[in-house]
């Protein structure tokens, strides 16, 4: 009775966050309204009768599916029992208790199973053994629960009309994660966090029991009446095991328990409930696909689907949308046969559901065919997209020969190409096509040198800003008019905005995937071993990779062996000086280059006046490209002096120096263009800038081609024939990627002055891909070091975003807001500022009443300083909050990590204790051979012996000791 009452009390727990929203609450609630009175007179012997309580049956029908649909069920089921118990204040005390092992898993527990009256005393919160025992009933209860599923009565209720209304929101992934780790909750864990967690933890254990004795609806009653006041967790710690023990009632044979416990473990270990094993991380079970149970491998095929877990999975799949369902099914680690059956069963169950349970349900049925058609259309669209995905085969070959790291360069190139295709499509359709319809005849002569200089004939084509008209294009009478000014500024603007967001999102995605937990990075010999590159398929590449890997492992080992050799002061000083000198020299070189470029550019105009040949304009781009070619090589020679301990540091420092050089050169050129060219009063300065950028881009392209064909080729000849000790070179991913970033920056700046630039970049990238591919195949060998390619790509995109794209935005903003467009050419001719076109457009709109909303938006949002001030403030606040949350999570992760370690120690301690007990017992009754078989060595070495089983056998024997 006591147990039962307690059980009830614990279900009064207000913490059923998932339940509060569910509609069908009320059913169970209404029917079982007066239920809490009834358990009063009940005692243990009466307890079974409450099971057949009529109203509880009613409540079951409504609530049962709810718990089935509870997405986290699978994950939380195996976890939640432990945290509370070990979190209990009594825990440390009992650890000091010499009988600890006993109280935890021993005699009390075993006897409680046979003696129902023993349950009562367990209910006392201060009973010393209760806490210890609470550990074990936990697993029992859920073992118990699947057993009940085999009950035919329950099978009926699985097909439940209410299921669809029960789409419980998922727990956020982080929460899951957290919860699971909580399993290892230990005494020193911060209290506040305990409470924060406890709702989830203790919400979960209820379901098994509830399904068992069908009075769940009644016990839910108080949930509705009580609103807040989270109970201290130790209360639950006491209540919970009792409830479970009470329900367990010894009905279910041991075999089912064991079996079902195996199934309860989402990732399917055959060692149920072993301490290390119970730590099941629901985050892995799936952040958003609740039904993802990584089931027991022992069960197969249809058996699995009929198993409680399979049924649970099916039930959880039913309320999902078809997209989520497919995703969940796909993510099942099961064979195709099982997945297909699962899919079939879910579809069948879904179609079986009676209609009209809820009003909108009919609509859902009606819409399903539309959804299906939509899905088919989408899949065929994605097929179409994948069929045009470029270079699939080439990439496969590259990956097969050179591994993922080199592949990342080519993927980056392809990504940039897609970017440029997009920009080109936008500019082409909104600026170039309208302009072509009103194009005037080009009178300039075409010589062919224009391809290099970009001047001459090309100045009067759609290529450059100066060619575009400032008039409104109108075809025929009454046709729609097209304002070129607005089209120009909006197209470029929209292009940049879309680029901004796609960069931002891809950067965020990469960060999320690749910097999940960067601060726990260790040198990671484990990663070397488990991250074998499966993409590599070429035989010689595999051999080389194996060789490289063994070298790397050896290096790693030798590092570990002679760890922390302290450098002497002199050596440290020398190293510091070397670093300092390298930095000073590299910065000095970069500054010198910038100064040189600036003076060259300034004097270039005078030089051009003297030299009238059209080829003379190529001097500046030539010098810039020479700098870009030579200086990075100089930088990479610094490594001979600097000697970084970690190759990763070396790569990052090299990247930083190179990007500094390239960006400062572009920066100084921008300064020159905007402050000297634009203000010099030249006719059509925008076109001049466009031509300069075109030349820079083209010269860069020519240099890369030459570098690939000559430089790399020569290097191979030298390496192979002349100085064989050098061997083949490795592909320098960092330098090559920086070249791409440099070119892309130029393209972004140039799009405003030369709208065809994306097309040119498209062509160059396309050619570059093949050139680099051929050069790679001929001149290079696979990289010898394991590269952290994924993080590098993230870093590249960050570089592309931060100095490059933001710099472009600044430059263009200055151009548009500060500079005066040239008077006689281009779409903005005659205006005092580029932005003036927008101002006058707004003025025109404000005269038309139907467009007042645009004006309002402009005045109050886009043009308003206050709006941006408030927006910035809000963003800052949110950022700060998120930052704080992240910091908190970091601390949490650290604590939880410590807990895992402690729990491991705890486990070992327990096992030792048990071994001692075992020995004692052996001495007591030497005839028992079965225990002997499960010796300690057996457990540790022959892993097939499940710890818990071993422990349990001792527990049962314990009373005899």
């Amino acid at each position: 009775m006591c147990a039962y009452y307690r059980n009830n009390a614990y279900e009064e727990d207000p913490d059923y966050p998932d339940y509060s929203g569910a509609q069908n609450h009320t059913r169970g609630y209404v029917k079982t309204r007066d239920y809490p009175d009834s358990p009063g007179p009940l005692n243990n012997s009466n307890y079974p009768s409450t099971r057949s309580n009529p109203y509880s049956v009613g409540s079951r029908s409504s609530d049962y599916p709810q718990s089935l649909a509870e997405p986290d069920y699978i994950g939380s089921q195996s976890n939640p029992f432990h945290p509370g118990s070990s979190r209990e204040p009594g825990y440390p005390a009992s650890q000091q208790n010499p009988d600890f092992a006993d109280s935890r898993g021993g005699g009390h527990y075993a006897s409680s199973r046979t003696n129902p009256d023993y349950l009562g005393p367990f209910g006392e919160p201060d009973y010393p053994g209760a806490q210890g025992n609470s550990n074990h009933p936990g697993p029992r209860s859920h073992s118990n629960y699947p057993g009940s599923r085999r009950n035919p009565e329950h099978a009926g209720s699985r097909i439940n009309p209410y299921i669809d209304t029960l789409g419980e929101p998922d727990y956020p992934g982080a929460e899951n994660h957290f919860k699971s780790l909580n399993f290892f909750e230990e005494p020193d864990y911060p209290g506040a966090e305990d409470y924060q967690n406890s709702p989830d933890i203790w919400g979960a254990p209820d379901y098994p029991g509830a399904e068992n004795d069908r009075d769940y609806g009644s016990s839910e009653n108080p949930v509705l009446s009580r609103t807040s006041s989270i109970q201290p967790s130790f209360h639950r710690g006491d209540d919970d095991p009792l409830g479970i023990l009470g329900r367990e009632d010894g009905d279910y044979p041991e075999s089912i328990e064991m079996n079902s416990m195996e199934m309860a473990n989402p990732y399917g270990h055959p060692v149920p409930g072993a301490p290390g094993n119970g730590y099941v991380n629901p985050a892995y079970v799936g952040d958003d696909s609740p039904g993802q149970a990584y089931g027991d491998p022992l069960l197969s095929g249809c058996d699995w689907l009929k198993s409680p877990q399979g049924q649970k999975l099916i039930a959880s799949l039913i309320p999902m949308t078809s997209r989520d369902r497919i995703k969940a099914i796909r993510n099942q680690p099961r064979t195709m046969e099982e997945k297909r059956n699962l899919r079939k069963m879910v579809d069948r169950e879904k179609s079986k559901q009676p209609r009209g349970v809820l009003d909108f349900h009919c609509c859902v049925q009606g819409l399903s065919s539309i959804a299906l058609a939509y899905r088919r259309a989408k899949s065929s669209l994605s097929e179409l997209l994948s069929s045009i995905s470029l270079w699939q085969k080439t990439l496969k070959v590259i990956g097969g020969k050179f591994g993922t790291s080199v592949l990342s360069y080519f993927n980056f190139l392809r990504w940039l190409l897609k970017f440029n295709i997009f920009s080109f499509v936008v500019t082409f359709s909104f600026i170039i096509i309208p302009q072509l319809t009103v194009a005037e005849k080009n009178n300039l002569q075409f010589t062919g040198l224009e391809f290099l200089t970009g001047a001459g004939y090309f100045s009067d084509t759609v290529m450059y800003y100066g060619f575009y008209t400032n008039s409104t294009i109108r075809h025929g009478n009454g046709g729609a008019s097209y304002d070129m000014q607005l089209a120009y500024i909006f197209t470029v603007g929209v292009c940049l905005v879309i680029c901004f967001f796609s960069l931002l999102f891809s950067m965020a995605r990469y960060f999320r995937n690749n910097f999940i937990n960067p601060h726990i990075y260790s040198r990671g010999i484990a990663k070397l071993i488990f991250c074998w590159d499966f993409t590599v398929t070429h035989q010689s590449a595999v051999k080389l990779k194996q060789k490289n890997l063994s070298t790397e492992i050896r290096e790693n080992l030798s590092e570990i062996r002679q760890e922390n050799i302290k450098l002497t002061l002199n050596q440290q000083l020398a190293r510091f000086c070397a670093h300092l000198a390298a930095w000073v020299v590299s910065t000095g070189v970069a500054v010198a280059c910038c100064v040189a470029v600036y003076y060259l550019a300034e004097n270039n105009s005078k030089f051009l006046e003297n030299h009238r040949e059209p080829g003379a304009v190529l001097l500046l781009p030539f010098v810039v490209s020479c700098i870009n070619l030579a200086v990075p090589r100089l930088y990479s020679m610094f490594r001979l002096v600097e000697r970084y301990e970690m190759p990763r540091h070396e790569v990052y420092i090299l990247l930083i120096r190179n990007i500094f050089l390239k960006i400062s050169i572009i920066g100084i050129l921008c300064y020159y263009w905007l402050n000297i060219v634009a203000l010099a009063g030249e006719e059509c300065w925008e076109t001049l800038i466009g031509q300069e950028i075109y030349r820079l881009l083209l010269m860069d392209f020519v240099f890369s081609l030459a570098d690939s064909f000559l430089g790399e080729f020569l290097r191979r000849i030298i390496g192979m024939r002349l100085i064989t000790s050098l061997g083949l070179q490795e592909f320098d991913i960092a330098r090559n990627v920086l070249e791409l970033i440099y070119a892309q920056t130029l393209v972004w700046i140039g799009t405003f002055f030369c709208p065809l630039l994306p097309l040119i970049q498209m062509i160059t990238l396309f050619i570059m891909f093949y050139v680099k591919n051929i050069s790679l195949m001929m001149n290079f060998q696979p990289p010898s070091k394991a590269w952290r390619a994924a993080q590098m790509v993230t870093f590249f995109i960050l570089l592309l975003f931060f100095p490059s794209f933001t710099g472009v935005l600044c430059t263009l903003a200055i151009t548009i807001w500060r500079l005066k467009p040239s008077a006689d050419c281009g779409p903005f001719r005659g205006l005092p500022l580029f932005i003036q076109s927008i101002y006058s457009w707004i003025d025109t709109l404000s005269k038309r009443p139907s467009y007042l909303w645009v004006v309002w938006i402009y005045r109050n949002l886009i043009g308003s300083v206050h709006f941006f001030f408030i927006l910035t403030l809000i963003v800052l606040i949110i950022t700060y909050l998120y930052w704080q949350i992240t910091e908190g999570r970091k601390i949490m992760i650290r604590l939880l990590h410590e807990q895992i370690i402690n729990e491991g120690k705890d486990k070992m301690f327990l096992i030792e204790k048990l071994i001692k007990l075992q020995d004692m017992e052996k001495r007591a009754n030497p005839e028992r051979r079965d225990v002997e078989q499960l010796g300690p060595l057996h457990v540790r070495e022959h892993d097939a012996a499940p710890d818990l089983r071993f422990r349990r056998s001792v527990q049962e024997d314990n009373p005899k000791v």
Partner: protein, 187 residues
């Protein structure tokens, strides 16, 4: 297009699409790859779900697997009976898990199984030794191998039970962002 639907029924294709990370076209491509492995064995008509298995000896000759040191383990893990002989379903399963789209958890689960040579659901020192030997082609001596195994266990074994459970493994994989891109076989 017409040819496609003589191999599979519409429902079959749809089921495959829902159960793998592949598009219809990729499924067909994989089917033809599978068929090419054993043209006499694999029928051109799958509408009646024939029970056909391609032996491991043929699966292992695929260029994608031929030089992979773990090819046998991969085939064993994905085959129904653990002997490496694969049905079309197993074959599709294998490449689905190894495809680009498969999520980290799924990949980690199967990677764990691949590295778990003795199928005891733990990666123990013996499994690690096997892995290291396969990876380095026996270039390291026994002492080095055991040192490596010790280091790996030291690094990745969260609960210090002397072996890696699936959770330890997944936790370690989380720290290796390259895993997603390297545990990938292009077809």
């Amino acid at each position: 297009m017409g040819n496609k639907h003589t191999v599979f029924t519409h429902e079959q294709l749809e089921a495959y699409q829902d159960c793998t990370f592949f598009t219809r076209k990729e499924i067909m491509r994989l089917y033809y790859r599978y068929q090419d492995l054993a043209p006499q064995l694999v029928p051109l008509d799958y509408t009646s779900c024939p029970d056909v298995k391609v032996p491991y000896e043929l699966i292992g000759t695929m260029p994608e697997l031929k030089d992979n040191p773990f090819r046998q383990r991969i085939a064993q893990v994905f085959s129904e009976d653990g002997d490496g002989h694969m049905t079309l379903d197993n074959f599709l399963d294998m490449f689905s898990v190894m495809s680009e789209m498969a999520p980290r958890d799924l990949k980690a689960y199967y990677a764990f199984k691949i590295y778990d040579f003795n199928n005891d659901d733990y990666i123990c020192a013996w499994d690690l030794e096997q892995t290291v030997t396969k990876l380095t082609r026996g270039e390291l001596n026994a002492e080095e191998v055991s040192l490596v195994c010790e280091k790996v266990l030291d690094e990745a074994d969260g609960d210090h039970d002397g072996r890696l459970s699936l959770e330890d493994f997944q936790n370690m994989i989380l720290r290796a962002p390259d895993f997603l891109s390297t545990f990938h076989i292009r077809i």
